[in-house]
């Protein structure tokens, strides 16, 4: 009967890889058969700080890829930016450390049943789950083009093996330190018409997701975005990570980005009301 996070499990899992990639840590966790139910877009919630930690909440990370290796069995890969206390602690863990994880959580990117022209747009390390998604889309016969953007080159996450899973990759930095100079959203209108894009998948800062939704508004292009809103529990019980969504009857619902997301239809999100009091704006 439990329909929410029906594949989720809590387990003590071993970190089997932790290496620095640019500004980010690529962390590999051995999770066994759990990889079979992890889909691109899902996330994992990890306890941080150890048993006497003063950090009482889990940290949520997008699962960037899952794979099977002969030495470690099923593994999930996370790309972690060591910015906050919790992620710094996770990035400091040596291989062999145990972590308490809950996964897979949340919605996944919808995979089209027919091959379509797909454009993947990643901001910063938001690109991480897009490479795993690209592999799935390619295997379904989709053409996959990718745009990655960040403020500066060190914040671009674009691993070599990931580049092979897309038909084309263009990088944008605001300071021009890598690829084209400018915002990653600038070429999207042209690409939509030139390539006949049917669906855009995006992951990155909320402002980027909002900008893409503005571009796809009044077009037939579907925009599936992985949202980010600060959350306490990750499993749908705390109600902190809500976003305003427009319902079919034009009413507003505040939906949880942890269980009704992180992947949402960008056309439904009322981006201009995020962080505002929805009642006042109605």
């Amino acid at each position: 009967m439990a329909a929410i996070n029906k594949n989720a499990a809590q387990l003590q899992a071993t970190i089997v890889g932790n290496k620095l990639v640019g500004q980010y840590h690529q962390i590999l966790i051995s999770v066994g058969d759990l990889i079979n139910v992890c889909k691109p877009g899902n996330f994992v919630a990890i306890s941080v700080g150890g048993p006497s930690s003063k950090m009482v909440l889990r940290r949520a990370f997008a699962i960037s890829r899952v794979s099977h290796s002969s030495s470690f069995g099923g593994t999930m890969e996370l790309i972690v930016a060591p910015f906050g206390q919790g992620s710094k602690w996770l990035c400091s863990l040596p291989e062999g450390s145990e972590v308490d994880i809950v996964a897979p959580l949340g919605t996944a990117f919808g995979i089209p049943t027919e091959p379509v022209q797909a454009l993947l747009v990643g901001g910063g390390y938001g690109s991480a789950p897009l490479f795993g998604l690209a592999e799935v889309l390619k295997s379904r016969g989709c053409r996959v083009d990718m745009l990655l953007g960040a403020s500066t080159s060190s914040k671009i996450y674009a691993p070599m093996e990931g580049k092979r899973s897309v038909n084309s990759l263009r990088i944008y930095t605001e300071d021009g330190s890598m690829g084209h100079t400018g915002r990653v959203t600038e070429p999207i209108p042209e690409l939509i018409s030139d390539l006949g894009i049917g669906v855009i998948y995006s992951c990155g800062p909320m402002a980027m997701l909002a900008a893409i939704s503005a571009i796809t508004k009044d077009t037939d292009v579907v925009h599936q975005c992985a949202v980010e809103e600060s959350m306490a529990c990750g499993i749908g019980i705390c109600m902190t990570c809500v976003l305003p969504l427009r319902n079919a009857d034009n009413s507003i619902s505040m939906v949880r980005s942890c269980i009704d997301g992180p992947v949402m239809d960008g056309a439904d999100v009322m981006w201009d009301l995020v962080g505002k009091n929805p009642l006042v704006q109605q």
Partner: protein, 314 residues
């Protein structure tokens, strides 16, 4: 395996275990049921429900703090009619024991909610939340005003009749908690829920403004546990016959026992579930083991044990 009598009571409601969810920390149960069987814990205390749908406060709604967190949800919920149609039947089907928590903006709204609950089957008790800190007008925190508290409970008691136990949820943010507790018990509350979150604030040093969308929020987690223990101890000392549903930063069986010996008949688990979806069954097992280790054969003997008279040494 255990011979210990783990059961507890609130008024005429019986529960096989003293470990409950905390209102607002388990939604309506579905989300946690992926991680454990809801019928295996004492009761599910549902998120405080209002008469009409409510969207709540703007984000950000939470900030982690040392050994705790602030939340500023603002009673988001679908309204009592949808709740009774969808959530209660589902919980009944799970064979969970249900404590419905209600919240209102006026004394009349509480009575309306009580009237809608009066004839609903499968509910063990009502928690009357008169102390949610996340409302626009602090004047609406009934539990900060002895007279308003009494009027709410009196209205609910008159509407509901003598059947369903009423548990009044109080705030620790008051000068004289015992007098407010005494007032709601005189007005007809069968039990007390102690404590709601403690009002707090975090300022974001990037924006140099309050971090939360609602500016203030309720502090929960282990940081407030000593406040909960103190509140329970004080109220139990003054009103030893009134059962207390204790809550406030409980994250282990040891913490739960601390609240029980201070005077709690049951213990709600809130923020611990955010950090660990299986916290509730874990705490329940730890508590049972700890009671046995301490030599208790029934939970009832441990309730208020910290208040026992000093042994004389002869």
């Amino acid at each position: 395996m255990s011979a210990i009598d783990f059961s507890t009571t609130f008024g005429n409601a019986w529960f096989p275990s003293p470990i409950f969810t905390a209102s607002g920390c388990a939604s309506s149960g579905k989300e946690l049921s992926q991680f454990f069987d809801l019928k295996d814990i004492g009761a599910v205390v549902t998120k405080s429900i209002m008469n009409k749908e409510r969207l709540g406060r703007p984000t950000p709604r939470m900030a982690e703090t040392p050994s705790g967190m602030l939340n500023s949800i603002g009673l988001q919920g679908p309204g009592i009619d949808v709740f009774l149609e969808k959530d209660v039947p589902w919980l009944v089907a799970q064979k969970a024991r249900i404590v419905v928590s209600i919240a209102g903006e006026t004394v009349e709204e509480y009575s309306t909610l009580a009237r809608k609950l009066r004839s609903v089957a499968g509910i063990s008790a009502i928690e009357v939340n008169i102390s949610c800190p996340n409302v626009e007008n602090r004047g609406l925190v009934f539990a900060c005003d002895p007279d308003a508290s009494r009027r709410v409970i009196d209205g609910v008691r008159r509407t509901i009749g003598g059947e369903l136990p009423i548990i009044a949820k109080l705030s620790p943010d008051v000068t004289d908690l015992v007098s407010i507790a005494r007032g709601v018990v005189d007005a007809g509350a069968d039990g007390l829920a102690l404590i709601n979150t403690v009002l707090g604030m975090v300022i974001n040093l990037d924006t140099m403004r309050p971090h939360l969308g609602g500016k203030t929020g309720g502090l929960s987690g282990p940081a407030i546990r000593p406040i909960a223990v103190r509140a329970i101890y004080q109220v139990h000392a003054a009103l030893p016959k009134v059962p207390i549903l204790g809550m406030g930063g409980v994250a282990s069986g040891r913490d739960a026992l601390e609240l029980i010996v201070a005077g709690a008949s049951g213990v709600s688990i809130g923020t611990a579930s955010f950090g660990n979806p299986t916290a509730i069954p874990q705490i329940q097992n730890e508590l049972k083991k700890l009671l046995e280790e301490k030599g208790f054969t029934q939970l009832k003997d441990a309730i208020g044990y910290a208040h026992r008279e000093e042994q004389s040494h002869e």
